[in-house]
Symmetry: C2
Subunit: 565 residues, 2 copies
């Protein structure tokens, strides 16, 4: 029960001592979330109100079903950018249709994440390597940051994934720059950076927003061409079924899959971080369920896709969050804002929101990590460069694709070549160890003993064949012994490969013996008939027994370390 | 030199004794190739002549650059079907544009395969599991077979990947069936099956084609509505640069990637089979180069994509092929046919070609394999069913996608949970072995010793953390020793994980020690500062040393098995 409703865990054992931290964290995050939510919605090509809608119900739902106690769910920069570039191919940013597709996307992302969680696919999170994530994030941060230039300068730049194009457009319109807009933006950036460095707990984003709105209102800056958010509808989002046709589903599926995966990766990385710090367990599959339900709920209440983000979670933790209650309080604060405070946003300059985004994302450009990798492992450094430049030069989605494919190829390359060892006998004992590591170990005359340190299955069984073929080429070889002590499991492809190894070696007049075969493997080999093909007398409890048998000696059971099957 | 021009290998050492086999095999395959080439081109939605063009130059090129001596390259059913469904979205089958796209596709497939070969990506062949390939092939065979119903019945059925639709269309037009066409088809099928069973070396396809053409010509069957191949242009294909624009390249890229991979998979499986039988080595990367160059050459001479196929390679081997010379002889025979014999094909009924395809592909439906898997390993059986039904119900390309994703998920799942063992001391020795397997082994008081049997990298380091966290929860635990003897390599992600393990354990007051750390791993850990963080005195040459140190005893070097780093 508690496994599927994690809030039962913390709500039942809730300590009053935690309440103060949760309230303080909930309020602090809300103050950050309101301007960020609007800013990220703008980044996604949506009206700011959608960012606020995405900051209410999804937070509630995640608090009930998620396993992290510090994770702050809501609009984040990366997902917003994916929404912008993914839907940008099918609708005009800011249009009614764009908004509808974004809401449909939330529903699709939610369903995909829920299904992945139910299908226990949480382990997929392991398949993107750190260097690849780091390179991709740095490049995406640059693209996101530069995409805000138009708001900062008060000019119009066509949406582009190519930074040099964006910069070129900005330079070519240098005479059109609105100096007031630029001033608001620059002052906001400086304030944010200074506050971040000297007063990390101070709600810098809120202050920037308040100052910007006051200035625009008091000095009538809109008349001087400073763009502001404008009318924001009042009230909570209403329940509405996303409208769609099957063509739209097909169009959005690749984007939905990408956001479901990337959003989950970002979220789980943050959640794991805080779970380790506070010593509790995160369940990756339940995290998928929690995020999935949050997005599904959002899809029915005019929200766009959300996930757990780094910066607000850090603030949540720092301000003392001890449970999901903190997120629920944040959500209530945003709801109150939606009910009563939206008229105050009218004069909020978009340049202030752009400044918030730029400061947030440029902090994600991680040069430190690149330097670190260069120092300790060159191969990882080059991977980082690959992901970085692929994203920067080809675009966000192509960058993800290249990064995922590069990571997958690495996984496959590793997995197809498991560790193997050629064993020899330690003199004066009946122990067989790796010849490369125990110099005094000796290979028995005419017998090669090989151990493979992995479950045998379709991806690595060809490698075993290659290794055994190489051994079989040795002069005067009479027998090969496979030490199966590390083979915990075997699949049908590997079983077929063993049959073909037996056939080959038999044709060459070389005996094939197995030692230390474990129970589950034994069952498969028995059913597949390998015991019949080889004969029961080719299977031994230990390498020593096998070697004694091959040499025609009797096994000296007394000396032997008893093997337990 | 010989590595990149494998024909130097066999041409230099050519024995006259092999010539007879090569000539006989070359002629036999040509007799099979000519009707099959035309039939498969028809299946691909192309005029039969394109299948003959694809049976000349690509065979020459593969013979020079491929490493297999029995592989018969040319048009095959699976690739033909992929061409039909892949280009079908962009052009009408049989149209001039369709032909041009198919030729462009050959060029693209060739370039992709060549690049993969140069990039040494041959290992990718290991990532599709046998059950998945078997299930996919069986379903694809059914789809291909039923797609020929229209030729067999002499009716017109819209192209569909859904067998039930195809069958439904056939039934609804039952009154339109041309009885003469159906008779030719059925007689051909019966002849082919009977000959295959009773006279396997007899050129059944040729006989069916000859009988069909004679009947159509002699009995004037075209006047009774029997469809025939019609005029086939005479002469060899001319050199022509494929025409294309960038939109077409983008459209065809997914199809080209699919064909490049699937074609390679089919080809390498066949090539490996015969290489094992005749005891020579296949180089997967050079195979990619050979197939790639064959397709590129084909692209410049009006050919559609080719690969090494199962049935003709089997006949090639059976008829005595000993080297690429056999394929060169086949190609010359097809060239002679193109120069002088094409008028003879005018009266060839398409029903005869359909019969050849149907008999060929229904033989690929492998119920035996499904039964075998059910008996020896249920999980593999369910995988086969998944691939089979995904292909049958969703279509060929979707089936490949589902199969690839299922295989990849399996690889990742395996690779993220490598084998680990908790070790204990064998009494009266300084040897530490797996506690689960050596009942008399004892865990030292307050010390847990863990060994992980894999290189540590991003995909499996989270698993190590989980295992160590579980150990750290034990009561009265003072220290954890990681036996690194099986860790051949480590990447930056795993190094970061070790740092985080050290941090966590230190906070809990548990010591962390490493034993048997290998050279390359040592280098990374030194550069990343783990030696400094932990202290040099936390690294030991053996588990025994580490345990002695933790217990405050002096190491008894004399008794120790010397470790070589």
């Amino acid at each position: 029960m508690r496994k599927y409703f994690p809030f039962l865990e913390w709500s039942v054992n809730y300590r009053n001592a935690d309440l103060k931290g949760d309230i303080s964290a909930g309020l602090t995050v809300a103050v950050m979330l309101i301007p960020q939510g609007m800013a990220y919605a703008l980044l996604a090509g949506l009206p700011p109100i959608i960012g606020l809608y995405a900051s209410v119900l999804p937070l509630f739902v995640y608090a009930l079903f998620g396993t992290s106690r510090q994770l702050a769910v809501g609009p984040v920069a990366m997902v917003s950018l994916l929404v912008a570039s993914g839907i940008g191919n099918f609708a005009t940013p800011g249009s009614e249709q764009f908004v509808q597709l974004a809401i449909l996307l939330a529903l699709m992302v939610g369903i995909i994440q829920l299904l992945m969680g139910i299908g226990r696919m949480g382990f997929l999170v392991n398949f993107l390597s750190h260097p690849v994530i780091s390179g991709f994030t740095s490049a995406a941060a640059l693209i996101i940051g530069f995409s805000q230039l138009k708001h900062l300068l008060g000019i119009s730049i066509p949406r582009s994934h190519h930074i040099h194009e964006t910069i070129w457009h900005a330079i070519s319109q240098i005479s059109d720059i609105n100096p007031l807009t630029l001033s608001i933006g620059l002052v906001s950036i400086v304030l944010l950076i200074v506050l971040k460095r000297w007063r990390p707990v101070f709600p810098g984003a809120l202050m920037v927003v308040v100052i910007g709105a006051l200035a625009a209102w008091g000095l009538s800056l809109t008349e001087a061409g400073v763009k502001v958010v404008g009318a924001v509808p009042e009230g909570l989002p209403a329940l509405s079924l996303p409208q769609f046709n099957t063509a739209q589903l097909t169009d959005l599926l690749p984007v939905a899959l990408t956001i479901a995966l990337v959003g989950f990766m970002e979220s789980i990385a943050v959640a794991k971080n805080f779970a380790a710090k506070h010593r509790y367990a995160i369940d990756a599959n339940q995290e998928l369920v929690g995020l999935g339900l949050a997005n599904i709920a959002g899809g029915f209440f005019s929200s766009y896709p959300v996930t757990g983000g780094f910066s607000r979670s850090a603030v949540n933790d720092q301000a003392g969050a001890k449970s999901g209650l903190a997120s629920i309080i944040s959500a209530i604060m945003v709801a109150i804002t939606l009910l009563f405070l939206t008229p105050l946003f009218y004069y909020l300059p978009t340049a202030s929101l752009a400044a918030i985004i730029m400061v947030a994302v440029f902090g994600l450009v991680d040069i430190q990590e690149a330097r670190h990798l260069y120092a300790i492992k060159k191969a990882d450094f080059y991977l980082l460069l690959l992901a970085f430049f692929a994203t920067l030069l080809l675009g966000i989605e192509e960058g993800i694709l290249v990064s995922v494919v590069a990571s997958l190829i690495l996984v496959i390359r590793r997995t197809t070549r498991p560790h193997t060892a050629i064993l020899g006998k330690i003199p004066g004992s009946d122990i067989y160890r790796n010849l490369e590591r125990y110099l005094e170990a000796k290979s028995p005359d005419g017998i090669a003993i090989i151990r493979i340190d992995a479950a045998l299955y379709f991806a690595n069984c060809a490698f075993l064949k290659t290794q055994i073929d190489a051994l079989a080429g040795r002069e005067n070889l009479r027998a090969i012994v496979l030490d199966a002590s590390s083979i915990n499991d075997i699949d049908a492809s590997a079983d077929a490969m063993l049959h073909s190894i037996v056939r080959d070696l038999t044709e060459r007049g070389i005996g094939f013996y197995l030692a230390n075969v474990k129970g589950p493997v034994r069952d498969v080999l028995r059913r597949s008939g390998l015991y019949k093909v080889l004969g029961e007398d080719h299977f031994f409890f230990s390498i020593h027994d096998a070697v004694m048998h091959i040499n025609g000696e009797k096994s000296d059971i007394e000396n032997e370390i008893q093997f337990i099957g």
